[in-house]
């Protein structure tokens, strides 16, 4: 055990060193996982609250189970002293339970005011790795805990987690396709649009304060921009024909989308207010679903110019078109990873779609899903996770998984069919 842990530390230290460069693949295959335990949250002042305690534990358990580097364990540890500060509890029982990392949480709930104090310990070294205190209202408990999950990821991997992020998606809860917003783990669902029409394909701006989406609310499938907090909407593309599959450039200044005013759908870019359209493709075939590279210099997109839909890449001025996907007869929905190293797409096979990832040079194609029908993959802002729509038996629902396809988990629990998820920038 000890030996294993030393190996772990060797894995961790390079991680911290690499943190400055900003990237560590946390799901390195074959690596030993850290055993993480969540101590029962304790009341620091005021009364006990079983709900606070349980909800805090649930959030940590969900985030850390998805995270990748951890196995979340539930050891039966009887603590003599159950404080949360260094010196206020004993490491020994945690050590003998095999715990590598320990989350200790204390709360004080006074009326509606909540303080949550969270501490992460390296059990073997008997060392505190990070400590944070969050204050706010009771209803912000989940958000506080997600914030500490993000912090744990920063400490362990060198890069903050995306767990405070939101997912925008389309749901048929009301009978129509409306846009909704929820925490990434499916809680706090809020409805954004209420126009009773068909609304599709939400995407965030890089600041997370606005989305674009397509809507039939005025009859034609037009592209809209909407401020999330105020609800103010502007129609930014309403050419005759379709104005769909919009994607915001990484600098937030341009929108790439498919417009069909020329007779069939072509890829255009427009300013965020719809001005200065630039046509990038000129082809009698279908072109849809543009996806920006993280530096904004290239776009992946779908075209059936060779007969069946395939993913192509071009420069963002329309030059240098080349085919990306060469196997499979129907490949759609590309999405470029935030680090630029992988492109997600969906391949139709056996009557349904499966999510694949491929290098931008066409090498190293790997299939990430195999159960049910899986569509519309979108990266988390740190590129370590993917959200997607999946139908596995019951209703279509929003799912999340790690970038290598592990840890597939259903997160939406609504009454409708949920699809078209997209993960917000850090909220």
């Amino acid at each position: 055990m000890k030996r294993a842990f030393f190996t772990l530390l060797f894995m961790l230290f390079p991680a911290l060193v690499h943190a400055q460069q900003g990237y560590l693949e946390v799901t390195a295959q074959g690596s030993h996982q850290l055993q993480l335990a969540i101590a029962p949250p304790v009341s620091l002042a005021g009364g006990q609250s079983a709900e606070v305690s349980q909800e805090t534990t649930e959030v940590f358990r969900f985030d850390m189970s998805l995270a990748g580097p951890f196995t979340v364990a539930s050891p039966r540890v009887t603590e003599g002293r159950s404080g949360i500060r260094p010196g206020d509890f004993d490491f020994v029982p945690w050590k003998s339970a095999g715990t590598d990392l320990l989350i200790k949480t204390g709360y004080s709930l006074t009326g509606d005011n909540l303080t949550l104090e969270c501490r992460l310990y390296d059990v073997m070294k008997e060392r505190e790795l990070t400590a944070k205190r969050y204050t706010g209202k009771r209803k912000e408990l989940r958000r506080m805990a997600h914030t500490f999950s993000d912090e744990i990821m920063r400490v362990i991997t060198g890069e903050k987690g995306p767990f405070t992020g939101k997912i925008a998606f389309v749901s048929t809860t009301t009978g129509n396709k409306e846009i909704y917003l929820m925490d990434y783990d499916g809680f706090n669902v809020q409805r954004l649009t209420r126009n009773g029409s068909i609304n599709l394909n939400p995407e965030f701006f890089p600041d997370g304060r606005e989305i674009i989406f397509s809507s039939y609310k005025k009859g034609n499938p037009d592209l809209y921009r909407r401020e999330i907090f105020s609800g103010v909407e502007a129609r930014v593309s309403s050419s005759r024909g379709i104005n769909v599959t919009g994607a915001v450039s990484p600098d937030g200044k341009r929108i790439a989308l498919a417009i069909s005013k020329d007779g069939n759908s072509e890829i255009y870019t427009i300013d965020k207010d719809g001005k200065h359209p630039t046509r990038l493709t000129n082809n009698g075939a279908i072109e849809v679903s543009p996806a920006w590279s993280p530096d904004g210099s290239k776009l992946a997109f779908v075209s059936d110019r060779l007969g069946k839909p395939q993913v192509f890449i071009m420069n963002s001025d329309g030059s240098n078109v080349r085919r990306l996907t060469t196997s499979g007869t129907y490949n759609v929905s590309p999405r470029w990873s935030p680090k630029g190293d992988r492109i997600l797409y969906c391949r139709q096979e056996g009557g349904g779609f499966q999510i694949h990832a491929i290098n931008p040079d066409g090498s190293n194609d790997s299939q990430l899903t195999s159960e049910g029908n899986n569509e519309h993959p979108r990266w988390s802002p740190d590129g370590r996770f993917i959200t997607f729509g999946s139908k596995r038996g019951g209703k279509e629902a929003i799912h999340v998984m790690r970038a290598d396809g592990a840890g597939q988990t259903k997160v939406s629990r609504g009454k409708g069919e949920d699809s078209h998820p997209t993960w917000s920038p850090r909220w």
Partner: protein
């Protein structure tokens, strides 16, 4: 030990300061997000008119009816719909089949007889393709129908097109019979 505690407190204070400063800012942003969308306009909720749902067909037994033959009899007598017959397409195709051309010939005759009527042609797809690609494919289907009607003598300015991709299936089933019905172009009279 005491030294350790002092050190610990400094760490804690810094951590807590950073954390609370940062958390509060984020909280406010989070809070902003919570009220407006959910309380803004409850009045509009659940529009009574689910625009163009095809409930009539939902009740049809799925196995029956090789789509292209019997479909016409199911037509609901809804406002906006016409004597014009739907046409059907093969998977991932906007090519007009011979039965579709025959139907369009009849549709063109009707249009030429009912001269001032303007029609919007809706292009639809089955659920199997990707929804994004299908928006473009549905448009190609509508356009193929429109172009053929024009070659048969219908004036282009009486015809317009819209694509609904796979958003408005005629048959909610998940088998070939349902898909065949859903890969279609429909004709909706928009002015007489």
């Amino acid at each position: 030990m005491r030294k350790g505690m002092v050190g610990f407190f400094m760490v804690l204070c810094c951590g807590a300061l950073l954390a609370s400063g940062c958390a509060k800012k984020e909280m406010m942003k989070g809070e902003e997000g919570i009220s407006p969308p959910s309380t803004a306009k409850p009045a509009e909720q659940i529009p009574a008119k689910p625009s163009v749902k095809e409930e009539v067909v939902q009740e049809q037994p799925i196995k029956e009816a090789p789509a292209s033959v019997k479909e016409e009899t199911m037509k609901s007598a809804k406002a906006g719909e016409s004597a014009l017959e739907r046409i059907y397409f093969d998977f991932d195709s906007f090519v007009l089949t011979q039965p579709s051309r025959d139907t369009l010939y009849k549709d063109a005759e009707w249009l030429l007889k009912n001269n001032p009527v303007k029609v919007q042609i809706e292009g639809h797809c089955d659920e199997r393709g990707s929804d994004e690609y299908n928006l473009a494919l549905g448009e190609k289907r509508a356009k193929a129908a429109m172009n053929y009607l024009v070659t048969l003598g219908v004036l282009a300015d009486r015809l317009s097109i819209i694509s609904y991709g796979k958003e408005k299936p005629l048959d909610p089933g998940h088998d070939e019979a349902a898909w065949a019905k859903n890969r279609r172009a429909e004709f909706v009279i928009i002015s007489k």
